[in-house]
């Protein structure tokens, strides 16, 4: 059950035996007035900066959303996709609820994209899945349908299963469907955590496809959110979660993901964990590139004398 997402030069493999995949969420004008105004006016400099910063912080895929009210979303999406491809090598997730914007983004993209997203609603499935098939992309499948979001994990699992089956009817391999179990704010839904963990386990065991969710929805409306988000994410990973759409520049989340990779045995020799720690300590001392092989060697040779 490995999902491959690629750019022209990079391939990301998602799966239970792979390091956890962070999909950077920052390139999204929703709730970011300044970014929305700039993007609508054709200024993509902030998009460039957000792209670079997220990749440096550990994002393996970048989500690109161009949802600006009353703007030409397909055109802005195409421009945003081209902009991000020009400044980073990572694969992209094309994020829109507007079909024309998805298609425009897919046309502009070079590689195998992730499309974010389709729901279990028949109308959406009929509109999005042919695009996925046409462009050979992978798709995020959100486990709600016409009846809304059920609090019963069995119902949400049934929706997930329906989407996977429908995708296969269109000739889309099931590993190219990534299930989002939908995370509810636990401050309002007491068993919101358990629901998600249960769906994640079943998706991994019964559907055998990859999963994704937002990492910060869980703590909405509560204090000290980073700690709750980190605990949620770690527990979700044990339950089978293989990727998250989140802001990788938040250190608590980044560390929780790296720690989870260590615990799951997906960080061989703990090298990513050690590397992160070295960079963190070096950054605190104002050193920028302490872990590349050359500077390690220089330092080693100085010590040897």
């Amino acid at each position: 059950m490995e999902t491959i997402i690629s750019s022209k030069t990079q391939t990301v493999i998602m799966g239970p035996n792979q390091p956890f995949t962070i999909i950077g969420e920052r390139i999204n004008p929703t709730g970011r007035k300044l970014l929305a105004a700039e993007m609508a006016a054709g200024d993509f400099s902030r998009v460039e900066r957000d792209a670079i910063a997220q990749v440096q912080a550990g994002a393996r895929i970048l989500d690109v959303n161009a949802g600006i009210p009353l703007a030409d979303e397909p055109a802005i999406m195409a421009q945003a996709v081209k902009t991000v491809m020009a400044v980073t090598d990572v694969p992209l997730s094309i994020d829109s609820s507007v079909i024309a914007a998805l298609e425009s983004g897919l046309q502009a993209y070079e590689g195998k994209a992730l499309v974010n997203s389709v729901t279990g609603e028949d109308e959406r499935l009929a509109a999005v899945l042919p695009l996925i098939k046409k462009y050979g992309a992978a798709v995020v499948a959100i486990s709600n349908d016409e009846t809304g979001i059920s609090e019963d994990p069995d119902v949400r699992f049934a929706v997930a299963k329906k989407i996977v089956e429908r995708a296969m009817d269109y000739g889309i391999p099931k590993e190219d469907v990534i299930i989002d179990p939908l995370v509810m704010p636990i401050g309002a839904v007491r068993y919101g955590g358990r629901q998600v963990f249960s769906i994640l386990r079943r998706v991994q065991e019964e559907l055998q496809v990859n999963t994704v969710c937002g990492a910060s929805n869980i703590s909405f409306g509560l204090p000290n959110r980073p700690v709750l988000n980190a605990a949620f994410l770690t527990m979700a990973i044990v339950s089978g979660l293989t990727s998250a759409i989140t802001n990788p520049t938040a250190p608590e989340l980044r560390q929780a993901m790296l720690a989870a990779d260590v615990m799951m045995g997906n960080d061989e020799n703990c090298l990513a964990w050690i590397d992160y720690d070295r960079r963190r300590k070096a950054a605190a001392q104002g050193d920028t590139a302490p872990t590349d092989r050359e500077s390690r060697r220089r330092r080693r040779r100085e010590r040897a004398r």
Binding site: N269, C270, L271, I274, R293, R296, R297, R300, R301, R303, A304
Partner: protein, 228 residues
Amino acid sequence: MNDEVNIKDMPIDELLELMQDDLYDGYADEVVAEVNEALSRGMTPYEVLTQGLVAGMDIVGVDFRDGVLFVPEVLMAAKAMKAGMIILRPLLAETGAPKVGTLVIGTVKGDIHDIGKNLVAMMMEGAGFEVINLGINNDVDSFMGAIDAHNPDIIGMSALLTTTMPYMRTVVNTLKEKGIRRDLIVLVGGAPVNDAFAEDIGADACCRDAAVAVETAEKLMAIKREKG
């Protein structure tokens, strides 16, 4: 990882430095290639061991002690060292190269902790010692049997529990009874073990980590050789 590096065209001192770098980074395949290249240039197995591998492992030990390197990295370096030693060991025996020393090491009776003890064993191998690792839960007979079989220079004992460390005294007393205590260097270690305890039971030294164990072993071996 040496895609662009051609070791055939490299001066010998650069080759040795590269061997040390690759050992430090735990690149076993590269170390093997460099050991073979150094031998093909006419270096003796002993020179490759001391100027390449041991020199490289020295720094690994120091950096581990100083918190620069961590356990997985030391294990990777030790694996690379082992890969190099597989080539060198038979050649060293053939050429009658001087032996650095032989160590028999084990966790004492009643104790099953061995991660630190294995690190010591690997670092000692890295320093060129021949190491006989007896594993966990060793009684006096197990240590005595290994001494008879391997004629070591050093006995290393490890314990992680305050309840099991007194057994080290039992082993030392047996060595005394058999009249071989003075032929051997006795090193002890493990979380609860300290210098005072080592002295009290009649061991030669307490080693707080793998790097200190290697330093101490080398120092005491030099003294032992002087005494002849």
